[in-house]
């Protein structure tokens, strides 16, 4: 494997995605507007403790922003028939997937940092561990961006279909991942379901970073997020290679 060539491919693909897909309406709508409106609808006019809810909002923001770019890229490129040209450039399928993940990750981290700064400055949210907050942002954005790319990996060439399918998976996850109901307050089965969602571990890590409390040890949250990222990447690679073997 030629590492400099592969890195160049990843960076070029990320740059291309940033130029083309960041301003696409589905990315803006489901990536930025949706989590903000969800936050407002669950917080405005309700007697809730904002400091307990805000880490969940950050997790939701990171989840939606980072996972909104991936589902757009491959289906859009297949529809526009630029995917074949992309594959003919000196890049590997791994570089393409990593490039897509990186562009989603950057989108996620930028907007979530912005939300975190607003929370700290305007809403007087506290940060107990700045280091854990940064780690949560980095690990969370890559895990969620990889999930977004995985959602687009089956052979779709129609972006609206992929966005619909990805929302079908993303929406239920926010209700079972400790964002609105803390993990400690969940009943038996729901709690087991929550443990299957990587978003649960991200929410827990943000809780630790901002409030100093968490249901699980932060190290476990970090390990699960790393393993999730690798799992999503490898699964996306397997699916996309299988698609190529079947003729794009």
């Amino acid at each position: 494997m030629d590492i400099p060539l592969s890195l160049r491919g990843i960076l070029t693909i990320s740059e291309k995605n940033m130029r083309i897909y960041y301003s696409k309406p589905p990315v803006l709508m489901f990536g930025i507007l949706f989590p903000i409106f969800m936050f407002l609808s669950f917080s405005v006019g309700r007697n809730i403790e904002l400091s307990r809810f805000f880490p969940g909002f950050l997790a939701m923001m990171l989840f939606f922003t980072a996972s909104s770019v991936g589902p757009m890229v491959i289906p859009f490129e297949k529809r526009e028939r630029t995917y074949e040209r992309l594959l003919a450039y000196p890049v590997t399928i791994e570089s393409i997937i990593l490039g897509d993940i990186c562009s989603g990750a950057v989108f996620g981290i930028v907007f979530t940092i912005f939300a975190a700064v607003i929370g700290v400055v305007l809403l007087s949210m506290s940060v107990q561990s700045f280091v854990v907050l940064v780690i949560a942002l980095v690990l969370g954005t890559f895990a969620n961006a990889a999930l977004g790319v995985l959602l687009a990996s089956p052979s779709f060439d129609n972006p609206p279909n992929v966005m619909m399918m990805s929302n079908l998976i993303r929406f239920p996850l926010i209700f079972v991942s400790g964002i609105f109901v803390p993990l400690q307050e969940m009943d038996g089965v729901l709690r087991y379901i929550a443990y299957c969602s990587p978003l649960t571990y991200l929410t827990d890590l943000f809780q630790f970073a901002m409030n100093g409390i968490s249901a699980l040890h932060p190290a476990i949250d970090m390990i699960v997020l790393i393993v999730s990222s690798l799992f999503f990447f490898l699964l996306a690679r397997t699916i996309q290679k299988r698609n190529l073997a079947r003729g794009l």
Partner: protein, 305 residues
């Protein structure tokens, strides 16, 4: 030296074999035409050559580099112009070229210089800052060519470059490809336009049902059917098909107001036409005898198999 070398290439989609054990080579600096009817395996072969698909079996070398074991190095040696002008509509012509240049590792200065030169050469410099989505199909195809040649590839793989283009764009594309070949670039071309292949290619390979059925220069291929000639005739009035059905005519087709009669005995047919005109009191407006065209060879070969 061989620019492209394909040995025992087999491509399967599931259990369906699209390309069956084909082998061919493309001489460095040549203009190689790869022809075949729809579904013959042309696109699958091109996708294997360009590293888009991994073949089920076989060996592909681009400028001596095995594309399966060293895909990135092999791809650096070639430029690809896929069918349907596949460029990014949300980027300008210049941005598309810079993107391509970055994939090939060109420095910023070289990218700038090559972009300016190539866009000028293709008549796009004035529109370099316009979004490609506002371009006509012909202009998009020019951008597609520009992206494929920004790094000065030694091998250019071109899939149906003139499909659906207007006359001016078609001429510009053909002239550009011819010029690149004259400058030393090896060109691998697939096209449905047999006349185009006849004009441009020094070697033609015909694929049918995933197997190569003929390879050679257009002249050599035409000699395979040297016995089949045609006589094109037009009279002062329209003559029905049934009036010209004689024993030594193998096939006939209408050409405007006249007929093209395919035959192995053109002299006898010309004499027959002359006698027929006298007998029916017709005036012959024009009559020409020609050897087989590459299109005729293509039809005969693909019909036979």
């Amino acid at each position: 030296m061989k620019a492209i070398e394909v040995t025992h290439l087999t491509c399967m989609y599931g259990r369906f074999t699209v390309v069956h054990d084909i082998s061919f080579s493309v001489r460095k600096g040549s203009f190689f035409g790869f022809l075949g009817p729809n579904g013959a395996g042309k696109t699958t072969t091109i996708r294997s050559l360009t590293g888009v698909l991994t073949p089920s079996a076989g060996l592909i070398r681009i400028q001596g580099i095995d594309i399966l074991s060293q895909p990135l190095q092999a791809k650096m040696k070639m430029g690809v112009i896929p069918e349907s002008s596949t460029v990014y509509g949300d980027l300008t012509a210049e941005q598309n070229m810079h993107l391509a240049g970055k994939f090939y590792g060109l420095s910023s200065a070289v990218r700038e210089q090559n972009t300016r030169e190539i866009l000028t050469r293709l008549g796009l410099y004035e529109r370099r800052s316009d979004l490609v989505r506002h371009f006509s199909k012909g202009l998009r195809q020019r951008v597609s060519i520009a992206c494929a040649i920004i790094h000065g590839p030694e091998v250019l793989i071109v899939d149906e470059p003139t499909s659906g283009l207007d006359v001016q764009s078609r001429r510009l594309v053909i002239d550009t490809l011819r010029q690149l070949n004259q400058e030393g670039t090896t060109i691998f071309l697939t096209t449905h336009n047999i006349e185009e292949a006849n004009q441009l290619c020094d070697t033609v390979c015909i694929i049918q049902a995933g197997k190569i059925i003929a390879t050679g220069s257009p002249t050599e291929l035409k000699q395979m059917f040297e016995t089949t000639r045609s006589v094109t005739v037009s009279f002062n009035k329209v003559v029905p098909k049934t009036a010209l059905i004689w024993g030594n005519i193998t096939r006939m087709e209408q050409t405007g107001e006249g007929w093209r009669l395919y035959t192995d005995e053109p002299d006898a047919v010309v004499k027959g036409i002359s006698d027929f005109a006298k007998q029916e009191n017709l005036t012959i407006h024009s009559i020409t005898t020609t050897g087989p065209s590459l299109e005729e060879v293509f039809v005969r070969l693909t019909e036979d198999t």
